[in-house]
Symmetry: C2
Subunit: 415 residues, 2 copies
Amino acid sequence: MKEKIRIGYIGLGRRGYAIIRDCLAQMKDVEFVTLCDQVPERMERAAKLLEENGKPRPTFTTDYKTILADPTIDAVFIMTGWNTHMEMTKASLLAGKYTGIEVGCAYDLQECFDLIDAYEQTKAPLMMLENCCYGRREMMALNILKQGLFGEIVHCRGGYLHYLPGTELLAETDPSHYRLTEYAQRNCEQYPTHELGPISKVLHINRGNRMMKLTSTASKARGLETYSERHLTSESSYPIQKYNQGDIVNTCITCAGGETILLTLDTTLPRAYYSRDFTVRGTLGMYMEERKVLFFEGMREEIANNEEEFFAKYDHPLHAEYTKLGEKAGHEGMDWLVCRAFVESVKRGVNTPIDAYDTVTWMSIAPLSEMSIQKGGAPVDIPDFTRGKWMRREPIVEGKYCLDDVCVDNETPIM
Amino acid sequence: MKEKIRIGYIGLGRRGYAIIRDCLAQMKDVEFVTLCDQVPERMERAAKLLEENGKPRPTFTTDYKTILADPTIDAVFIMTGWNTHMEMTKASLLAGKYTGIEVGCAYDLQECFDLIDAYEQTKAPLMMLENCCYGRREMMALNILKQGLFGEIVHCRGGYLHYLPGTELLAETDPSHYRLTEYAQRNCEQYPTHELGPISKVLHINRGNRMMKLTSTASKARGLETYSERHLTSESSYPIQKYNQGDIVNTCITCAGGETILLTLDTTLPRAYYSRDFTVRGTLGMYMEERKVLFFEGMREEIANNEEEFFAKYDHPLHAEYTKLGEKAGHEGMDWLVCRAFVESVKRGVNTPIDAYDTVTWMSIAPLSEMSIQKGGAPVDIPDFTRGKWMRREPIVEGKYCLDDVCVDNETPIM
């Protein structure tokens, strides 16, 4: 097992910087070899932060291939915008690097198959750094599931319910945000992984189960245009224009085991609160993150609402242990834990708890939902990116920083 | 305008009896001419109740056609099980009676067209007695909508989220409940009208808008079987068996105006609370009955949760007036108001605020969702039962007991 891992880090925008500041700069077993960004000031800012944290100053490059060509680098973080993920990830896998990528989806199915081909060629582990898989409530549900208290899982629901205009979209402070182009041009479930990640783990997707097909239905697109009409001035960086992205997109997925998943994208109409609406429904019980309700058959309702008591009883051991470290910044510990899961996998030389098959399956939802919407809501087959391996891949428990039911994969040779 | 209306009343089971007890027996302008049921004791019990309320004793019949043949009867209530609604309703319309029917769906599209044909032949008004259209929260949303505060409506959501095993289904106290057969044999959105009724009013369905198509996705069916295995004894009236009805059914509807509707049937997996999940999403604001949240763009979150303040500001005038009558039993006044809406329409000789087109459109959702599920979630066209009239039918405000934006229909001749 490695004592330290040597990383190359691509993309130092808002998210890329935050992950260094809140997580990686504080980890003694992570050494930054090279930073990559198109903006030198961003690299300088990150290097300064690393030095302040007692780490050696990394080298800089504007060409990510420099990182891939460095044989001393163990792992690559890809923290760029969605539109560059696929190309960089494929190159990183073909270079044999452990690859951690920020969340985001594919544009096309062929890109997904290309990633799988690259992975199967080199077996370099690929992990989407889906922090919500490590949310305290999501992991509590996983813990309860393991104890059998939900019974047989029948349905899960989740969504990205987050009003973006004025912050992520159409904000005058961030006039170049790449996401706006996606909303102007596409119409699909653009951003499903915060909910689909944890749901996939609950449903053992790619390890005993798989997603078979989906239908997507998009409402008309009126939110961004209305916001623009009401809030943009003549000095604004943005035009008042029409957008293609439907305000609400509902996607229904059917799994091999007969379970269904409902995903909702809800980001451009005014709403009162943020939620991922993470919901687990079994034959014996339910959990709803949004209402903070945990309920088992026959339970009295007032007990179902006592979240502190549930945490005391069912908190996932990983979160209990994490809490001892003291509160870290970054989405209530999710960022810290997802980074640790990746770093530990690299140190141990084992597959990542969210692996290439998970990553690519989740990334495929955007183009698949786009096809369904274009076909008027017709069902679209979800490819089996495991090529049949989902039936026999076993959940194996190992490693305290790994998602406990999906850790080391026996079949993947250690690099 | 009639001072009193003379009614025939078919079906004196749990629901039929409750509507008399909580509503009609207390109305001075309603006279019961004839009761109809297969069980004489039920008719006796209802007649006794009417006499206790100072009403003349009605006659009894076991053949509903006796009621239809009576020329002195103005209006017919059909309060029987789902499986007899269509036949009786058609006969009642052909007999030229004002017809009020308890909620329920069709089994087949042809039945729906038959009802429309019968209605168009006699123009006898038909009203589904969908009490949830008169819910305080649903009507508050309608009131806010009328004031333009939601902006343009983009999406609505609702569900029937009600755990039925042990009460409506598989209860030893009610071993003959007809609904269980529906759950054993069918797999569809069986019971959408509690949410779809109010949503249709918000979206002006059949009056300027229409539902164009739907897709339905059903989870596996495990809830009733699991409940049976755990709770039924050898002395039980029920076998332990498999059921066809998926535990969770999600239905996505697309409307002519580009709005979408999400309906959820959720009745057989343990859940913590009852909800109709009535949700309205517009370009300027949202309302969620489940969380009691009303929110307009830019509002502070703590204000969004103050339901009493919202009632004070936005309560529908009908509910404000109703409250002065003193609290009535029956689902927080909904039953009272829906009955008044029907009775007032009969007295005035005008069309009903929920009319034949609404009723039949809502009833068609069950067979349409069944088709979609059978076709693996394929989109299914929703017929235009108005045959084009939806484009020109105007909402007209009149009558204090009518749903205020959909009352008298100019095109329908007064009988």
